[in-house]
Every structure is written in C-alpha cells, then in structure tokens.
C-alpha cells in the first residue's frame, strides 16, 4: 500500500489545478452558476465545481415546498405583487432593486428549469402547477395566492438533481469531497481573489485551485443552533472564510426560525402542509393564529407565526404546558397527504411513529435560514465594504450570500428562487470576468498558512474535543439568541461565544490519519461556526429594534428612523470585537408601512 503511515506528517507540496472559473459549493446556486458559465463560455472552458459533499448531497435537496414565480397558471398573478410580498415579508429591509430583479426574473428562471428537465407537478392543461405559501398574496396583500411551483414535496431535490444532471451533460468538472479552507488573495493584487485552497478529504492533501473568477455558494450555517432544520454539514464555511479575510458580513442578526420544525428533532415540516390547509392548535385546542393574523392566519410570514407560537407557549398554552404546539393536518385526507405531501407524511410516520391522518403532530420553531451572509450586488459580485466597493474576481450566491432580497425575514419559497436567480446571474457575470481577467498568480502564503494550521491542529494532543464546544455553542445560541432576544440574553451569549472561541484555540483531534479525517473536518467546521456566531451576536446586540426575524423584548418596535439599514460586520483583529458599519436599505417603490397579516 502506498500510504503514508500514522505519525508521518510531512505534507507533500500542494497540488495545483488551473481552471477558468471555480465554483465552491454544489447546491442549487453553485450548480446553476456552473451551468451558465459553461453555456456562456463554451465547451472548451474549464469550469470546476468544488464541493465537500457529493453534489447531490447538498442541502438544496432537502427543500420541500416549492419555488415561487408569478406564472399565473392557476389564478391571476403578477410579478409586482410578488415583489411587494417580498419587500413586506422582509419587513422593508429588503433592497427593493434586487427584489425587483428577483421577482421579475423568477418567471423566466422557473421556465428555464422546466426546459432543463425539472419534473414539476402539472395542471390538467399540462402547465406547471402552483400552490399557496406563507406570505404570498394577491393584489398587494388582499389574500393568499397560488404562486409556489412545486414537484410534490421534493422541489429542492428535483432542482438539485436537474441542475447536476445538466452540469454532467455539459461536462462541468467536479471536484467531489474537497473542503475549501481559504481564499487565494495574493497580497498586492488589489484585493483580487484568484482561487481557493482546499483539503482533499480522501487523501488529506492540500490542493490549490487557481481561477479567474471564484464563486462561493457554500450554503448556510444553521448548525450554530441546537434545534435546526439544517444538515450537519451546513457550517458556514464560506461565510467564515470571507469574514476571516477581512470582508464584511451583512445582516447576520437576521436568522429565520421556521414555525413548524418537528419537536426536538428540528426537521422541517414544510409550510406546504399549511399551504394545503393544515393549521396550528395550542394546548386548549384553539386555532390561535386567527388571533395574531386575522387575514393570512396560519399562512402569515414565518417570523410572525414563530413568535405567535412562542407567545402561546409563554402564556402556558403549549401542549400540556410544554414548549410545543400541534400541527393539525388530519382533515387533509389520505389523497393530499400521500400525493402532495408524501415525504412530510413519511417523516412524521418514521420519526414520531404517529399517523398524520389521525394524530396531531408536535411542532416547535426550528432554526432554518440565514438571511444574512456575504454582501453582494445583483450580479453576485462581493462587496468589500459598506460603500459598495467590489472585490475583484470574487462572487457569492445562495444562502451564504446576502443580496439582500430577504431583508429581515425571508418568505417561503423565496430562497430557492434566490439561489436560482442569483446563482444564474452570478454565472453570467463570472463569464464576463473570465473573458476579461488574466491568468492568476498563486497565493503561496495562503497555501502555507492552511498547511501550517492543519499541521498544528493535528499535532496537538491535549485540549477539548470539538463536540463538547459545539454542543455548548448550539445551546447558547438557541436559548439566548433565538426567536426572542433581549439585551441581557444577548450580552450573555456574547460572553459565552467569546469564551468558547478562546477554548476552541485548544481543540484536539483524535484521528491523526490522512484519509478521510472527518474528526479534523468537524474541528475545522466548528471554527467556522464560531466565527459565524460571533458576527451574528455582535450584529444582534447593536440592533436596538425589532424587525422581521430579529425580535427584541426590550425594543419591541420597528424603528425606521434609525434602523432602515443593513449591518456590515467586519472581523477586526483576533480577540477584538467585530467592527460594525451600516449601509442604507434601497427603497424604490414601496414605502415602509406597519406590517400586518
């Protein structure tokens, strides 16, 4: 066997790969960008997709409910209504120019997906079928509208598969199971990003990828919370890497809690369950959403529903006085449950061992989606600071980016739309960049520092295991930085996260091998999580208002005078608290109004 035995830690020189463009992350955003790049630049172009998971394992595949576009296939609809809903749903922190682009391009993008092969459910006439979803309304808020295009409750699965399939067809190069650890940003090249440094998981070797344009589409970081719908691998790698490189993170304080997570497990029960007619009941058997949102009821936007659940629980009206309520879907009937929501029904049967047709389903809000992330313009170009200066060669799209089309709270189905529309636009913008840019130079300093950091981690024999620290972090964030926040809780959380960061400098990895060292991988991911948590808490402490998903007990009102602006958090220097700066939200058509549903 040609293997390096344990104990021999001399690392070979990094292997280098020269590509035209490199995409990090093979979720919906990354794959669509790669596909557009390939279609734009032609068969000769070397477009690489690096992913720490096999592409079809990406979390886009877990998305269920649908992707919205004002196709108007089942009832009248208009993309401007969609635009309004998005802005209102985001509690007016949305950049309206970006949301306009998204809602307008939605129609064409969804149709393009159909052309690529996505098996949408169909209407009897053979058109793409649509259904209701939370926060989506007719005629600027009059009542619910059918806008979510769907493929059973596997919309994300089909988006992911369809895009992967077409990437295979167009011969995109896939580097599967490589974990990106750093950006190549050689000093003195006007801050240009021209590649990434990655760990090949199968061999433990450090590889260096050079490219004329780099896209980050690494997904979210829900794993900073204890109860979350996110996968174990959603650890904010891309977000943290950008942050460490001195780039800002936008609106990190806004993290969406989805109202219907499975109790304790956190897995998501899609909003489609309510879209099809399911509703929430409290311990007294009341449909309590009628009180909080008289028009939209259970289909009000997610932050509203999640807060309502917490208020019921706080008032002692949880089931048996505990911290959960029930979702009632019994009346939907076997046909709807088995044909339109087969996977949801399956989850309930498998993990709770109960029958949704006859039993009430215990649910609890679950950490779901990061509205914030790496700031970009409408073509996925990353912003270097609050003034709007760009980072040459660097792009971001998907959940790890913040365009910001979701503002303070994302509407259901708008995230798949975000990854598609902006993944695609980023791809097109990158093709432009590739044509313009010249051959990149290597960043040997980054290579060396990644190798050194890995060696140091592996060499340490005493310290704490990552799992312990991660567990404490998740507990802290969930209880002190969750649906309801307050100055006192946030300050506690801040202190604890700081402590954990210090302790994490002494992480110990038990596995000293090279091949598939997942122990090392988890340690690295914990460090990424800690960075995300730090930026999140710091941004949340500063925002003294309640807006969208950021609900503060001590500042219960929205404050448009002082806070109609995006937070930009910068990593200052190790140890010091992040520096915060602000950038006004773009308002074009819809003036902020109080938000009711």
């Amino acid at each position: 066997m040609s293997l390096v035995r344990q104990g021999d830690r001399s690392r070979p020189r990094p292997r280098t790969h020269d590509l035209d463009a490199v995409v990090v992350g093979a979720g919906g955003a990354g794959l669509y960008a790669a596909l557009e790049l390939k279609r734009d630049l032609g068969p000769e172009a070397r477009i690489g997709v690096i992913s720490k998971l096999y592409p079809t394992r990406s979390h886009t595949g877990a998305a269920q409910g649908g992707v919205c576009a004002a196709l108007g296939n089942t009832e009248e609809d208009n993309w401007e209504w969609h635009w309004f809903d998005t802005v209102k749903g985001g509690d007016y922190l949305v950049d309206q120019d970006a949301a306009e682009v998204m809602c307008h391009d939605a129609v064409e993008t969804v149709i393009n997906l159909e052309h690529l092969g996505l098996p949408f459910n169909r209407t009897p006439e053979g058109l793409i079928d649509q259904r209701r979803f939370g926060g989506h309304t007719r005629n600027f808020g009059e009542g619910p509208v059918r806008r979510a295009c769907y493929a059973a409750d596997r919309t994300g699965h089909h988006i992911l598969q369809t895009l992967y399939e077409q990437c295979i067809r167009h011969d995109v190069l896939f580097y599967d199971e490589y974990q990106v650890l750093d950006l190549a940003m050689p000093a003195g090249a006007d801050g240009r990003v021209n590649g990434v440094i990655a760990l090949q998981l199968s061999s433990g070797e450090v590889h260096s990828f050079r490219a004329k344009a780099v896209l980050f589409a690494t997904g979210g970081f829900g794993k900073i919370f204890k109860v979350t719908s996110n996968a174990h691998t959603l650890t904010g790698d891309g977000v943290a890497i950008a942050y460490r490189r001195g780039l800002p993170l936008e609106d990190m304080e806004f993290f969406q809690f989805h109202p219907t997570g499975m109790y304790k497990l956190g897995f998501l029960l899609s909003e489609a369950m309510r879209g099809e007619g399911g509703f929430l009941v409290n311990g007294k058997g009341e449909r309590f959403m009628e009180r909080y949102a008289p028009t939209m009821k259970d289909l009000a936007s997610r932050d509203v529903v999640s807060r309502s659940i917490y208020q019921e629980i706080a008032a002692g009206r949880g089931i048996d006085g505990k911290d959960f309520v029930h979702l009632d879907v019994r009346h939907l009937g076997a046909k709807v449950l088995n044909e339109k929501l087969p996977d949801m029904s399956g989850f309930i049967r498998t993990y709770f061992g109960i029958e949704p047709l006859t039993d009430l389903v215990p649910i609890q809000p679950t950490a779901h989606y990061a509205m914030g992330g790496i700031p970009t313009d409408i073509d996925g170009r990353v912003l270097a600071d609050e003034s709007g200066r760009l980072v040459p060669g660097f792009f971001a799209a998907g959940e790890c980016a913040c365009v910001s089309v979701h503002g303070a709270n994302r509407l259901g189905t708008n995230s798949l739309l975000d990854i598609l529309v902006f993944g695609r636009r980023a791809g097109i913008a990158m093709a432009e960049e590739v044509r313009r840019a010249h051959t990149p130079e290597p960043d040997t300093a980054a290579e060396a520092s990644v190798t050194a950091a890995l060696d140091e981690l592996l060499a340490r024999t005493e310290g704490e295991r990552p799992a312990v620290i991660r567990e404490e972090l998740q507990e802290t964030m969930f209880t002190k930085c969750g649906v309801y926040r307050s100055s006192a809780l946030l300050m506690q959380a801040w202190g604890e996260v700081d402590d954990l960061r210090v302790r994490a400098q002494q992480l110990v990895v038990q596995d000293k091998g090279k091949r598939y060292n997942t122990d090392l991988g988890e340690a690295l991911e914990l460090l990424f999580l800690l960075d995300c948590a730090e930026a999140l808490v710091a941004s949340a402490v500063a925002r003294t208002e309640s807006r969208g998903a950021h609900a503060r007990e001590d500042y219960p009102d929205r404050d448009d005078v002082n806070w109609l602006k995006h937070t930009f958090a910068f990593r200052w220097s190790d140890g010091a608290p992040p520096r915060l700066a602000y950038r006004p939200a773009t308002i074009t058509r819809f003036e902020p109004k109080p938000r009711t549903y």
Binding site: I168, H170, D171, F174, Y178, S202
Partner: protein
C-alpha cells in the same frame, strides 16, 4: 479477524479520479446477452410443458399405470414421430437453456480471465459432444429392429 478479503480488496492509492465528469456512454456490445435473455425466458415457458410433461410421464404416469421403463417402453414411444420430436425439442432446449445458465453462473463467480475462459470452454465442448450424442440416439433409434450390437462396439 479476517473478513471478506474478496469483498473489500483495498488496493492501491485512495486518490480519486477527480475531477469527475460526464462518462461517455459505453459502446453497445452486440446483443448476445440480450438474445440469450429472451431465449431463456421463452425456452423456459416451453420447458414447463416439455420437461414437466416428460417427468410426469416417465416418473409418475409410469408408476400409476404400473409400467416399467424398458427398451420396449421406449420402442413404443419413439415409434411415433410425435414423441421423437418432443424429446428432440426437450433435449435441445433444456441443454441450451441450462448450459447458458451455467455459463452465466461461471461468469458470476469466476473472475474474468484464463480460468473463466477455460471453464466456459470446457462446458461448451462437453455440451457440444452431449448434444450430438443425444441427437444421434434419438434420430437413429430404430424401433423395428434394434441392433444387438450398437454402432460403438
């Protein structure tokens, strides 16, 4: 504990063939495997009648009617062309069906290479000989006056 070496031959370098890319469809081989697939199924259906019929007559009916299998018995059956054709069909179909099956089984459990070719070669040779022998016996059998001394003596 030595477990399943054959199942997990950990050979060589763990490095992958990255980047992975669209595999070109393999060139379609000529459809031998396909025709044998059909042949197996169709011959199988015919064999239900032929083989089961044969077994029922030779082992069950004979028993029930209190007869014994003897030269005379064979003479009486092969006196009519119907049974000769019947047995001829049975012979050819069962042999080809069964031998093809055996070929597949060898292919499944013997690694590609010399031994596999050798075994399959031997199988085919044996089959060929037996097929000729069987056909010869059925076709040349003379019910009227069977010779006291056979052609092989």
């Amino acid at each position: 504990m030595a477990i399943g070496r054959r199942i997990w031959p950990v050979q060589g370098d763990p490095l992958r063939r990255n980047p992975s890319r669209a595999a070109r469809p393999r060139p379609g081989e000529p459809g031998f495997e396909r025709w044998m697939w059909y042949f197996t199924r169709i011959s199988g259906l015919l064999l239900v009648v032929l083989a089961m019929g044969h077994m029922l007559i030779m082992h069950v009916l004979v028993q029930l009617t209190g007869q014994e299998i003897s030269f005379a018995f064979v003479t009486s059956r092969w006196g009519t062309p119907f049974w000769r054709i019947y047995d001829l069909l049975l012979l050819v179909l069962a042999l080809v069906h069964g031998v093809n099956g055996a070929r597949i089984i060898i292919g499944d459990y013997v690694e590609r290479g010399g031994l596999r070719s050798l075994l399959i070669g031997m199988l085919l040779a044996l089959t060929f000989v037996l097929l000729l022998l069987g056909i010869f016996v059925i076709v040349t059998f003379d019910p009227a006056g069977a010779p006291a001394i056979g052609p092989f003596s």
